[in-house]
């Protein structure tokens, strides 16, 4: 997947997890936690959805890599290439 495709995949997941939040204007370098009001249960869901949809494993020590869109893309690009 290209970086842009991965970005869309992440946004689709976020829109499913937090349907009442606006995912259209996300800033790449601001924490997703604050932008979308996510908590640790929601981050578990990002990981679970990545596994379910794309067979990508994110071990728990790597969860901090999902903090912002940019860090997500940097972390997931090699895994989803």
């Amino acid at each position: 997947m290209t970086r842009e495709e991965i970005r869309k995949a992440i946004i689709d997941i976020l829109a499913d997890i937090a349907p009442d939040e606006d995912t259209s204007g996300l800033k790449d370098d601001v924490g997703l936690r604050d932008q979308l009001g996510l908590d640790s249960m929601d981050f578990l869901d990002i990981v679970m959805e990545l596994r379910k949809r794309y067979n990508v494993e994110v071990p728990s020590p790597d969860y901090p890599q999902l903090a912002t869109m940019t860090s997500c893309l940097n972390y997931l690009s090699p895994k989803m290439a």
Partner: protein, 466 residues
Amino acid sequence: MRLEPLNYDVIIIGAGMSGLGAGIRLAHYGKKVCILDRHYLWGGLNSFYRLKGYRFDVGLHAMTNYVPRGTRNAPLTKLLRQLRIDYDEFDLRPQSMSATWFPGKRLRYTNEFAFFENEVAENFPHQADRFRSLVKHVLAYDALDLSVPEFSARKAVAQYLSDPLLVEMLFCPLFFYGSAVENDMDFGQFVIMFKSIYCEGLARPPEGVRRVLKVLLDKYKSVGGELRMKTGVARLDVEGGQVRGVVLENGEVLQATKVISSAGYPETMRLLSDYVPGSEGETHGQLSFVESIDVLTKEPRELGYELTIQFFSTTETFHYQKPAEPVDVRSGVICCPNNFVYERPLETPMMRVTSLANYDRWAAMDAGDYPAEKTRWHARVLDEVVKIVPDFRPWVKFTDIFTPTTVRKFTSHVNGAVYGSPIKFKTGRTHLENLFLCGTDQGMLGIVGALLSGISMANMHVLQEA
């Protein structure tokens, strides 16, 4: 030929709120899940029935934790996210106004916290600043930190408030809606309940608990979960520190990698094949209730009654404990399901009254005396209730009453203890590696609490482990 036993990733005991919450999470993420329930109706403590053409709810007076759509960091919106359920599906309608009634004082609340703060300040002006400090402390407190040991909420609140009447009045609704401990509760539980009732608020779907349960059940089935009703668990076979088999009452044996039980702690321990009587310790709850539902020929509003729920005590000190008599008529909860903000009136006008009751006294009654005793105690309860609400007795056309023995029958809880064990198991772990608890005895109460309990136990013990 012997068939291999059916094998699941997770077996959940009990199709109540917590079991359904856990089941939805697990099935959504591809686990092979089966929920087992002894009864023919799902819902557990929050179920429903039909009698003489009327539809009644059990348990649910109102859902606590009501917040508007999109509210961040609130239990209701968190659980909707986790279960992938749209906000509108529960069809929640806010309360109009509720109150706590004590001799000479009435504290009212709506779903706007500022109204309640003002109400406290007007009724207890000398406590207003202290109350604001307590609220600040409550809002900043992390009640979901499982590592904090339990401590007395009464002692914690006494550091802020000095007027015993205000203390009693603040605690009264919180006890009634979720304390398994007599006359006190854990401070973490106090914080959860305080926010859920006073800061957030009360709501109800026009169809009552049926609506909530239908949404949950449809969701569970749509993600591939299996539900087996009228399927009681007879025994959990234990070997080498693990549950190896789930033996059903019909003799069938199921296997599962993990078992999550919402049956309650002592109730679950009694299912173990190596159970030693008494090993469950002091986990038998004592608090049970009688509840009456009076169907009226008139809308309560036409009788001049506008409030949604009233918690009351006719004594200045509220006694939240197992009474010596079959029913404690000195206190109770009066709920009018008709007085929420609906577009059109409900089909059936009714008043529900819940009072503390003594399980042993009801269980010891002769079957022949039981119906007359129900009627006699109901009349005594209403004698007190009509001092607080307009006298609706002339308009009663049908009454149904349940007692602690009814609770026992439908929930299997020891002593008919509605809120389960006074000792809670916050981590959900047991002494067996693959057996976990969710629901009442994990320690989260109310419909929203129970759903979150199921969700968080499924997350912690199954999904995060994978």
